[in-house]
Structures are given as C-alpha cells and as structure tokens.
C-alpha cells in the first residue's frame, strides 16, 4: 500500500497553499484532486483580496493576515498571479446605504484598517466612469484583486518544486478511521496509508465527514456573473462594490460583474442570455 506523511484532499486554493506551506517546511504532502486544480469555487469567483472584508473581532484579522501572506507569496512565486493591491471603492447610492457604509467604515477604523470615507464628488474624481447620483463612498487602499486560476496554479507549481505530489483526477471516496484516528484515505483505485489528512474539499468536505458522524455546516452556493469582452481600462482602481454587486476589471480588460448567490445544491449551469431561456 502506498503511504504518505500527509494527504490533502482537494486541489483548490486552500489545498494547494497548504501543500506549498507544508512542502516549504520539509513535509512531502500528497494532494488528491477529484477533477483538476481550481475546478470549483477556486476557479469561479471574482478574485477579490479584501483586508476590510470579514467580521470585526472574528474573521477580519484573518483577512488582513491572508492579504499580507498572499503579497509575500506572490513575490516568491517567480511568476505573475496578476495580484494588484490598488484599492477598492464601496459605493452608496441612497441615504440608507450611506448610513450602512458609515457604520462599516467606523467598525473597520476601530479595528485598525485604513479606510477613508469620501463624498460622491471625491469618489468620482478617483473613478471618473462612475455615473451621477452617488451619495458617497468608502475607499480601502489595501484591498485588491488577483487572478484566482493563476494563484491556485502558482501554489501548486511551487509546492511541486518543493517536493509535494499533486494528482488531479483522483477521487477520494472515504477516510478510514481506526481507534479515533485517521489511518488511510481510500480513492476510487487505491488505499493510501497516512496519519494526517487535510480536508480542503470545499463544499464536498461535508460528504467525506458525514460517515464519521461529523456535521460540517458548509454548503455549495451558485454564483453567476456577467463578463464583458476585453476593453480599455474603465475601472481605474480595478474594484468597485455596491450592495449586492461587485465589479472587477482584470489585467486583460475583461470586466466581471456579479454575482448571484443561489442555493441550488451542486447545480452549476448558468441560465443567462448566452444559454437561452
């Protein structure tokens, strides 16, 4: 039977960054991915890097630390991941949104995040393409965006260079537990003996834990986005937000506008204009 020091289940950005960090520490992890790298949530998102996102006192410090580590890793990769920390504008178009935004800014400032509140006129000076009717905006200079495909692949490439083994097309079907400890990972074709498993299967992690009596409250959500043809720079800061919508222009000029959040289980079919009624 094949053995591994650590088995990582899932080839998304979390699994690949864990593989990179373990390999950097001298561990030789084995990563198993059911489809291909960044095939699910890691490849279907807007690539936002938000130091101001997250819940103050809970996830906010993690977001700040993540952005810091991401910037450090980006320098070590030796290949571009299209990481831009050019800031983000969050827009308010009504008095209600403005009150909510002032509250957002106050809580972030109390947590030590650099956030500026500005008038609609000031915001339009930063982003001349914005239309009229803007009440005000919050500007977060440390926020930014990244190409999520390149990020996941950069972690995987750097992990491989440091001794990690990464296998796409390998489906983990079961975790074998004996005397309260994991002892093996069963794939469709073989059993791999291991004392440690990192479960990074995203919306599929719950299904592997359920037979062990562990309930993980993580569910899939479908998000649909519009993407434009590549066009000249329109969004100067690269990133805009308003309630229920986010806009990002990537380095090639495509503008991503989205997204929905829908509880439709694992259904990932788009039903926008491109696919008919």
């Amino acid at each position: 039977m094949r053995t591994a020091e650590v088995v990582i289940v899932g080839g998304g950005v979390i699994g690949c960054s864990v593989a990179y960090n373990l390999a950097s520490l001298g561990v030789r992890p084995l990563l198993l991915e059911r489809r291909s790298l960044a095939a699910e949530a890691s490849g279907a998102n807007q690539g936002m890097v938000g130091i101001s996102s997250g819940i103050p006192g809970r996830t906010l410090p993690h977001m700040r630390k993540s952005a810091e580590l991401l910037t450090r890793d980006a320098e070590e990769f030796g290949q571009s991941i299209e990481l831009t920390r050019s800031g983000r504008l969050t827009l308010a178009y009504s008095q209600g949104e403005w009150a909510h935004l002032r509250d957002f800014v106050a809580t972030r400032q109390r947590a030590g995040v650099d956030v500026l509140l500005m008038s609609g006129i000031e915001a339009r000076q930063l982003e001349p393409a914005l239309g009229p009717g803007l009440v005000g905006a919050a500007y977060i200079p440390g926020d930014g965006h990244v190409n999520p495909f390149l990020l996941t692949h950069a972690y995987a490439t750097a992990a491989r260079q440091r001794g990690a083994e990464i296998l796409p097309g390998e489906t983990v079907v079961r975790l074998e537990v004996s005397h309260g400890r994991v002892v093996a990972v069963h794939t469709a074709t073989e059993n791999i003996a291991t004392p440690s498993v990192v479960l990074a299967a995203g919306a599929w992690s719950g299904a592997l834990l359920a037979p062990l009596g562990v309930t993980l409250p993580v569910y899939p959500g479908r998000g649909q986005m519009l993407v434009t043809a590549a066009m000249p720079p329109l969004v100067r800061k690269g990133l805009l937000r308003a309630p229920g919508i986010a806009i990002r222009q990537d380095v090639r000029g495509h503008i991503l506008i989205g997204s929905t959040v829908e509880r439709v289980n694992y259904n990932r079919f788009a039903h926008g204009p491109a696919c008919g009624p």
Binding site: L37, H153, A274
Partner: protein, 106 residues
C-alpha cells in the same frame, strides 16, 4: 525546437502559442482545464473545440498522461458576445435569478 515553431498559434480564439502551452505543461499542468486556466487556451469563442486535440496530444506525449486517463475538459457551448443592451435588460429584469438568502443579490 525553433522559436518559429514555438510561436505557432494553437488556440486561435485567444492567440495562445505552442510555447505557452508547453510552459503550462512544464509547470505541472496535467489536464486540459489546468492548461486552459493558466494559458487561456480554450477560453475564447469556440471554447476549446479547436485546441483540445493538440493540447491532449501534448499532455500524452510530453507529460506522459495515459490516453485512457485523460481528464475530460469542461464542455461549454461556443461563446457568443451578447450586445450590452440585451444582456443588461435581462439582468435587471431579474431573469438571471435571485437568492432566497440574498434577495437583493444579482
């Protein structure tokens, strides 16, 4: 291989060259979708219908992927750009769906 051959366009929709695909394979890509996400091959109008066989051939020949073990690519209909006024009408009519959790989300 000569520079000229490396500059051969494999993906005509996104102008991806043989050299770029070989670099994606050299950095560890082992499936069509991985090569696509790194190089943009197969992300254009035809959604991989033209470049798939070349990329698959290179995966088998250069990366040692067994033909029987080739992971199938995600299949999408050919891409057609929708004029802005049509897509925004449908978007703002709400035809793209809303979430019970985030009724305001689009």
């Amino acid at each position: 291989m000569t520079d000229q051959r490396l500059r051969t366009i494999v993906c005509r929709c996104e102008d991806v060259t043989l050299g770029e695909i070989q670099r994606a394979i050299a950095s560890g890509g082992r499936t069509f979708d991985e090569i696509k996400r790194v190089s943009r091959t197969g992300m254009g109008e035809c959604q991989g219908r033209m470049c798939e066989c070349v990329v698959t051939e290179l995966l088998c020949r250069d990366a040692g992927v067994a033909p029987a073990a080739v992971v199938p690519r995600s299949v999408r209909p050919p891409k057609a750009e929708t004029p802005e006024h049509e897509s925004s009408d449908q978007w703002f009519r709400g035809d793209l769906g809303t979430s019970p959790d985030h009724p305001g989300a689009r």
